[in-house]
């Protein structure tokens, strides 16, 4: 008998479908058979813990070797909570993004936009005891992709979250307010529920903005909450 508690199932409409025809690459990359329903056990209810000793934080993407990256400097701050509003402390957050011109520092990115010798685009931060994280970067540019004719990804920053269990693992993207490309983006629009979708858009925040330094954005994230019923019951 064990009393480990699993995590709640996703709320209806809050998550995209792996079969999203408007996003062409999903065609051959979604299972055709239904997923096997299986209640969480210790394997899904527990997860890795990362120590800043082994995974040193890298909280300022806007400077490399003392040299400033091109682009509009931004500060992104937010709080990670679970579905009950409880903060998720000391959890590792990984970020990666294109440079200001919309080009990734990646061999497979062939977009005809300049690389920036002072920008790589990877970061790592940990939440504090109250679930807050913050990093400095530059606003990523939009970039074209071949999903459909004249397809452009809206400005976005990729995120990786862990939380307390393997079930709370989350990979997502943060978007910017007022981006006209959001209306045409099948990845963003793949989230069925409009409110859930719009929570992927950061808010401009004058309190996070630092005078003479950087624009501030607020991006809060919710990880799955514990189910109320212990698994042993």
């Amino acid at each position: 008998m064990n009393d480990i508690i699993g995590f709640r199932p996703p709320a209806p409409g809050s998550q995209p479908d792996n079969n999203t025809p408007a996003y062409g690459s999903t065609r051959a990359r979604h299972p055709l058979r239904p997923l096997l329903a299986f209640p969480h056990t210790i394997t899904e209810a527990t997860g890795p813990a990362f120590s800043p000793t082994h995974f040193p934080p890298h909280t300022d993407l806007s400077v490399m070797n003392g040299k400033l990256a091109q682009g509009e400097r931004i500060i992104v701050r937010g709080r990670i909570t679970d579905e009950d509003g409880r903060p998720v402390p000391n959890t590792m957050v990984e970020i990666w993004q294109a440079n200001a011109a919309g080009r990734y520092f990646h061999p497979l990115d062939t977009h005809d936009a300049p690389l920036d010798p002072n920008f790589k685009g990877d970061g790592r931060v940990f939440t504090d005891a109250d679930g807050w994280y913050q990093y400095t970067s530059i606003k990523p540019g939009a970039y074209p992709w071949r999903n459909h004719k004249n397809a452009w990804r809206p400005n976005h920053i990729h995120y990786s979250f862990f939380g307390p269990g393997f079930a709370t693992r989350l990979i997502t993207q943060m978007y910017f307010p007022g981006d006209p490309l959001l209306a045409f983006d099948p990845v963003f629009k793949g989230v069925p529920d409009e409110a859930a979708r719009n929570r992927l858009i950061a808010n401009f925040d004058l309190d996070v903005t630092q005078p003479e330094h950087a624009l501030g954005y607020r991006f809060d994230v919710v990880l799955r909450g514990r189910a109320a019923t212990p698994m042993g019951i």
Binding site: M1, R8, P9, A11, S14, Q15, N18, T20, S25, T26, R27, A28, R29, H30, P31, L32, R33, L35, L36, F38, P39, H40, T41, I42, T43, E44, G47, P48, A49, H54, E83, G85, E94, I95, F105, H106, L108, D109, G121, D122, S160, F166, A167, R169, L170, I171, T172, Q173, V187, F188, A196, R199, L200, V222, L223, G225, A227, T229, M231, G232
Partner: protein, 180 residues
């Protein structure tokens, strides 16, 4: 089943990891023994193919083990970028059995997450070990009636301490993916 209270927000939506996640990749993370873990060291390898039979070389493969318990020497978690043939390779410690729900016991297994371009959320599955006597009574394997389907979750020995579990995302011999 539980329902959300009106004041709570549902978990944030997932979005695809995309093709450029290697910006956060560290090849060292594929070796779960790098901090000096004790135990039987094994290699877990497998080739990932999609519904067209193409290798998912851009994918992000993660593993997590609830056994042995993670500590300073054993992170329990690994991440790997497959090679051009879609083949991932982890060095880790062979897990033992762990408790299941109620009074059940689970056969030794490794949890696997698969992210990639064209995968909106993630695909979750498990690797068990061929020949383990506990497989016969494992609560998850017991839910899969067809032997051929069950076999998609069972790694096979391929040389000394090397175990292979190929993953087929879609179509013939499609891997059994699990709700998480």
């Amino acid at each position: 089943m539980t329902t959300l209270t009106t004041t709570a927000l549902a978990a944030t939506a997932a979005q695809t990891i995309g093709p450029y996640w290697h910006l956060i990749e560290d090849p060292a993370m594929a070796d779960l023994t790098r901090f000096g873990a004790n135990g039987e060291v094994i290699t877990l390898i497998g080739t990932i193919t999609d519904g067209d039979g193409a290798p998912a070389s851009d994918a992000c493969v993660e593993i997590w083990q609830s056994s042995p318990a993670a500590d300073d020497k054993f992170p329990g978690y690994g991440r790997c970028a497959p090679d051009a043939t879609g083949t991932f390779r982890f060095t880790t410690v062979k897990p033992g059995p762990v408790p299941g729900r109620g009074n059940t016991q689970q056969a030794p297994h490794i949890a696997i997450n698969l992210f990639g371009r064209g995968i909106m959320t993630r695909l979750y599955t498990r690797a068990y070990f061929e020949g383990d006597p506990l497989n016969a009574t494992d609560p998850l394997l017991g839910l899969i009636d067809e032997p051929a389907r069950r076999a998609t979750l069972i790694a096979r020995p391929e040389g000394a301490n090397i175990w292979r579990l190929d993953i087929r995302i879609q179509g013939d011999n499609e891997t059994v993916f699990i709700e998480i």
